[in-house]
């Protein structure tokens, strides 16, 4: 996803000199083409995220489309109030981009586990929140947020994730991307755990459970229509994210369901329990320890469906 983002941004920036990329002293090797070919649209802010964010706001208020770029929690939480006051309150055209969403840097330790970022960014006024599921979505999201004139948060995984979308996608900010149709259960996922969601659906299908799978790259604004349709057309809804179950996709969907004027639908958030992870390790290891494998998720789905009577549709 990182490479897809940088490639797309470079192509956009070649055609639009309002685009500036500001990195927080990170991106060794991968930001070099941008730095060398578009030096007047590039800045290394050094290890100073507050200045990086305020500076991006100042540039945006001078007509630029300013991207800040760093890893894990650095460009979000380290400089949170600068995002709130300088970027959001002024509706400055700043795009905050992180690499390492979830446990992409799992072995690096708790400081590098980005598992509350979506909750924090979602709470900010006027902030669009986008977490693409694979390199295809990452490229489309990069184009879309560049065109959108306002604050955005783009949460990427790392490099080398599999391409999940095998066909052309229609990407629109605020819209779910249907991946698979099914009437038993709806699985809504966001971010780089998309591949796991696809495998979960395959796993469930082998046991006779048909899953509606929605990739939800935009967390805010949420595709309320897609959530409500799922609540009325399938027997249960589960959300899946490599993020705390507090405040992210699960919470966003729960808020919609709780306030909707429709019969209650069985619902469960699958993600990381609130709190620091006691583990460190590869992304695969971390997912396994936190029950984020297709097999574990499928079991949870089955348990939920066991207590739900088949709905007359």
């Amino acid at each position: 996803m990182r490479n897809a983002f940088l490639k797309e941004l470079f192509e956009l920036a070649e055609k639009d000199d309002r685009i500036v990329l500001i990195v927080g002293d990170l991106g060794f090797g991968v930001v070099t083409p941008f730095m060398e070919k578009l030096p007047r649209q590039f800045l290394n802010a050094g290890v100073a995220e507050q200045n990086m964010t305020g500076m991006a706001a100042g540039m945006a208020l001078s007509g630029k489309i300013a991207f800040t770029y760093s890893i894990a929690n650095f460009p979000t939480m380290r400089c949170l109030e600068h995002i709130r006051n300088d970027v959001c309150y002024h509706n400055a055209n700043v795009k905050i981009v992180t690499v390492g969403g979830g446990f992409a840097y799992g072995a690096m330790g708790a400081t590098h586990h980005a598992i509350e970022d979506l909750a924090v960014m979602r709470a900010l006024p006027g902030m669009m929140v986008v977490a693409p599921g694979d390199p295809i979505e990452a490229r489309a999201a990069t184009r879309a947020i560049t065109e959108y004139p306002g604050p955005c948060y783009l949460r990427l995984g790392k490099a080398g994730e599999p391409v999940v979308h095998q066909t052309e996608i229609y990407f629109e900010l605020g819209k779910a991307i249907p991946m698979r149709e099914g009437r038993d259960v709806t699985l809504i996922c966001t971010g780089g755990i998309l591949q796991t969601a696809v495998r979960t659906a395959q796993c469930l299908a082998s046991g006779g459970i048909e899953t509606r799978l929605l990739s939800m790259p935009t967390l805010k604004p949420l595709d309320i229509e897609a959530v409500l349709a799922a609540a009325q057309e399938t027997r249960a809804i589960l959300t899946l994210e490599e993020h705390s179950i507090l405040g992210g996709l699960g919470s966003a969907v729960a808020e919609v369901l709780a306030e909707a004027d429709i019969p209650k639908v069985p619902f469960k958030r699958i993600g990381v329990p609130p709190g620091f992870s006691p583990y460190i390790g590869s992304q695969e290891y971390m997912q396994e320890r936190h029950g984020l494998t297709p097999e574990a998720i499928a079991k949870t789905v089955e348990r939920i469906l066991e207590i739900v009577p088949a709905r007359a549709l």
Partner: protein, 303 residues
Amino acid sequence: MSRPMSSQELGGNVLHLSRNKEKKESDTVDQTATSDLRELAKRIRQHCVRMTGKANASHIGSALSAADIMAALYGRALRYDPKCPDWPERDRFIMSKGHACTALYATLAESGFFPVAALETFYQNGSPLAGHVMHKDNPGVELSTGSLGHGLPVALGMAISAKRDGRASRVFCLLSDGECDEGSVWESALFAPQHNLDNLIVIVDYNGIQSLGMVNEVIDLHPLGEKWRAFRWSVREVDGHDMAALEEALTQTPYEAGRPSCIIARTIKGKGVSYMENKLLWHYRAPMGEDLTKALAELGQSK
């Protein structure tokens, strides 16, 4: 040394820069030459005292401390057009010490950005004139501030954009001394010289009193000028109430080509109202009743 540019140099438009007068080609300090600025500063102080008193608001000491700086900025140094607040070539002013907002609102009103009568609404329900600097619905305000340490990073971004876009705009940013406790100030202080931002000017309102005590007793900033010099800024230290000195310092930037400028303005908190001067109490208390009458009398205005 730079000099204020004529409107023709700024793009050929005949701009309404009523209060921007060309600096006199003279090295002698001529007190009459700054009489208009001293008049403006007096009016700003009167507004600040009246607004704060009427609103029962805080921070009058901080506003009075900065009043002379504001007069010198908007009366001489800054290039702006109140009829066209978004003029791209304008100089930007960021009041990072957002709690001194009355000084900015009063200065903008006196400079023609909005009617002086609007100052009456300060701090009132539904007014755009909030108790910290707010940009919404306030022409001429570049940035909302109120949390310290935010103004300089944004000012820096504006300065870089001006450089890269080939605009002559300069960016002035007013910091409080207590604000220099914030780490973000020093992130920007490190960064600006790296990019040769000689169109960026910091003014520190060094009145020596912060929110809960004397600056030298809370976190002593001394030697503040040396700190900025060590961060590779060109520094001048001036009496922040000497109008001729302020005018000179604010209109002669950059002091060195390729370096940002820092003006350490030695000021007196509450300057101009005898009973407020150098008193921490007037960071908080509002001048009301007898206090207000006395303050306005000292500032040459009846209530």
